[in-house]
């Protein structure tokens, strides 16, 4: 398999069960470079589980995960991260007692492989600080750089969540409901950031808001009970009667 033909991220026949309960069943998914791919499905469909399988938090029972054509299925989480997979969390996973700058500093320091250094102060790593600040500036978080994360409003915290993931310079970015819990008056800030992301990054976004999905994604995968129900363009998904049936009783835009 050559670099040119291989997808940025490819998942083949992925299976996972917790005891007797299957949570991922023969999932197949391919994200070409620069993909804008949405993963939708009802609560409990296994969307976050799939993110955990891709990032290595969970080991699959069977199947393969390929990054740029390389099999990374058996690699631990840290090794996958170093190869360019980053994620955000549905529920904030931040360093709440540290400043915004330190939150992003940690991600940059690990990526630049200087985080193990013991004999010089963290402040002497100017490259790390500069890149962390540049990331904050890009997300308009620079004014909050020295604020403690736990003291920020929730919407700003969601941006820090994205800033950490972007500071990892990912080739594949997994966004797990990035605007979850953010009041609708502020959610446009986050959606603007997502809309303006580097077009070379392959992005998989889990999202419940169908307006966001149809605006952002060029491909959509529908996950139901751990298995892919269907995959297609936004038009195909919108017209699919089975998808409508799954979402019966929930918000699903018509037409």
């Amino acid at each position: 398999m050559t670099e040119a033909t291989s997808a940025a991220l490819e998942i083949k026949n992925l299976n996972k069960s917790f005891g007797a309960i299957p949570v991922a069943r023969d999932i197949a998914l391919a994200l070409p470079r620069g993909a804008r791919h949405a993963l939708i499905g009802p609560n409990g469909a296994g969307k976050t589980t799939l993110v955990n399988l891709i990032t290595g938090v969970l080991q699959p029972s069977a199947g393969q995960i390929l990054l740029d054509g390389d099999d990374i299925t058996s690699l631990p989480q840290a090794a996958r991260t170093r190869r360019g997979i980053a994620r955000t969390f549905q529920i904030n996973q931040l360093f709440r007692g540290l400043t915004v700058l330190e939150n992003v500093y940690l991600a940059v320091a690990e990526r630049m492989r200087v985080a193990h250094r013991v004999w010089r102060p963290a402040g002497a790593e100017r490259d790390v600080i500069d890149q962390a600040l540049a990331q904050l500036e890009a997300l308009r978080l620079a004014d909050d750089a020295l604020k403690i994360v736990r003291e920020l409003p929730y919407g700003r915290q969601r941006l820090v969540e994205i800033a950490i993931a972007l500071a990892q310079n990912p080739r594949v970015l997994l966004l797990d409901e990035p605007a979850a819990g953010v009041p609708s008056s502020e959610s446009h800030l986050i959606l603007d950031v997502i809309g303006a992301l580097d077009p070379s990054i392959a992005i998989l976004i889990i999202e419940h808001d169908m307006d966001v999905v149809f605006r952002f994604a060029s491909r959509i995968t529908v996950l139901v009970a751990g298995a892919v129900l269907t995959e297609g363009s936004p038009q195909q998904i919108r017209a699919d009667a089975r998808v409508r049936a799954v979402y019966l009783g929930e918000e699903f835009p018509h037409g």
Binding site: L133, E137, Q168
Partner: protein, 343 residues
């Protein structure tokens, strides 16, 4: 339009950037007030010349508490078995003198550090897969087992009777042990100072920053690609080595050692000291150990019950009103005063 806004935002705000850089670039610098504990320690040498044996014990406990601060305060590793490393250091310093006839004290510290570090690396590699209550019980159990091994090997370790009457050659070939403990007070102070600088350097380094990250959110540290287990084992090993040096100093200043160094009281006591003074702030070990030791010295003479009661009361008050220890309380008070002064 969103695009032009984004460009405007991406242009650096020089003031904010300089301020943020300065925050990280200067926070490791020594502040003038940091001379205070050392000046007090030297002053104590001249004010209480007949209490230097006790003074040495206080310094030993400061060093022990400092080693615990590295793992508990900075990396968030809870352990009720830190006396294991203190005890291993104490027995290494005693056994090389008694069994190998090696009486030079400073190399004794290095031997103690090495033995404790090996034990720290091995037990850390096994135990640091667990966290919280599980880890608490595992560290506690390990220390009890170690104490029992010492008891079983009575012929070698002296069992609960201990190893009395240790002698050491003069420090640096010049300064001999004296009955009042003057030499060993200054010796302990010098060792504490050097190791304090080591710990201070570590916590302000990028490595120290990752420890704070692990303490604040392990899941996120995994997600940013940090080798969390390796980092934890590393800091645990360093902490164990320092606790080992504290134990060796304990043996050398007392010229005897018993299996009591492995007691649960020792593990719990050092944790109480640290919480009392303030964990995760370097000088909390100093404040906590000094207050604890001085109160213990005075109250336990009056009655052991008073002392137990006082420890309990102090802990309850700390946990209720000063969650971040006495130093945290002091910091809040200082902040209140300075903010009150401004118009």
């Amino acid at each position: 339009m969103a695009a032009s806004d984004a460009i405007a935002a991406a242009a650096p705000a020089p003031a904010a950037r300089a301020q943020a850089t300065a925050f990280l670039a200067t926070r490791h610098r020594l502040r003038p007030w940091e001379a205070l504990p050392w000046l007090l320690a030297i002053a104590a040498f001249f004010i209480f010349p007949d209490r230097m044996l006790f003074g040495s014990q206080v310094l030993v406990m400061v060093l022990f508490a400092l080693s615990l601060d590295l793992i508990l305060g900075f990396a968030g590793i809870v352990s009720l078995g830190h006396a294991a490393f203190f005890g291993l250091g104490a027995y290494t310093a005693a056994l090389i003198t008694l069994r190998l006839n090696w009486q030079e004290p400073i190399s004794g510290l290095f031997a103690a550090a090495a033995v404790a570090a090996v034990a720290g690396a091995a037990s850390g590699w096994l135990l640091l897969r667990y966290r919280g209550l599980t880890l608490l019980v595992l560290t506690l159990a390990t220390t009890i087992m170690l104490q029992e091994v010492g008891n079983l090997m009575r012929d070698f370790t002296g069992g609960y009777d201990g190893l009395p009457g240790l002698t050491y050659t003069p420090l640096l070939g010049l300064f001999d042990y004296d009955l009042f403990g003057h030499t060993y007070y200054l010796y302990a102070l010098a060792v504490l100072f050097v190791l304090f600088l080591v710990v201070r350097t570590i916590v302000h380094s990028p490595f120290g920053q990752t420890l704070a990250g692990i303490r604040e959110n392990v899941a996120r540290m995994h997600a940013v690609g940090s080798p969390v287990h390796l980092r934890l084992v590393t800091v645990y090993t360093i902490s164990a080595a320092i606790a080992g040096v504290a134990g060796a100093l304990f043996t050398q200043t007392n010229t005897y050692v018993t299996l009591g160094v492995f007691d649960f009281d020792n593990s719990a006591g050092v944790m109480v000291m640290l919480i009392l003074g303030g964990a995760g702030r370097l000088y909390g070990a100093f404040v906590g150990a000094v207050i604890y030791m001085v109160l213990q010295d005075n109250l336990s003479k009056a009655s052991p019950q008073y002392w137990q009661f006082a420890v309990g009361l102090m802990l309850v008050l700390t946990v209720l009103f000063a969650r971040r220890g006495l130093l945290g309380l002091l910091q809040d008070a200082g902040r209140l005063l300075t903010s009150g002064r401004k118009p």
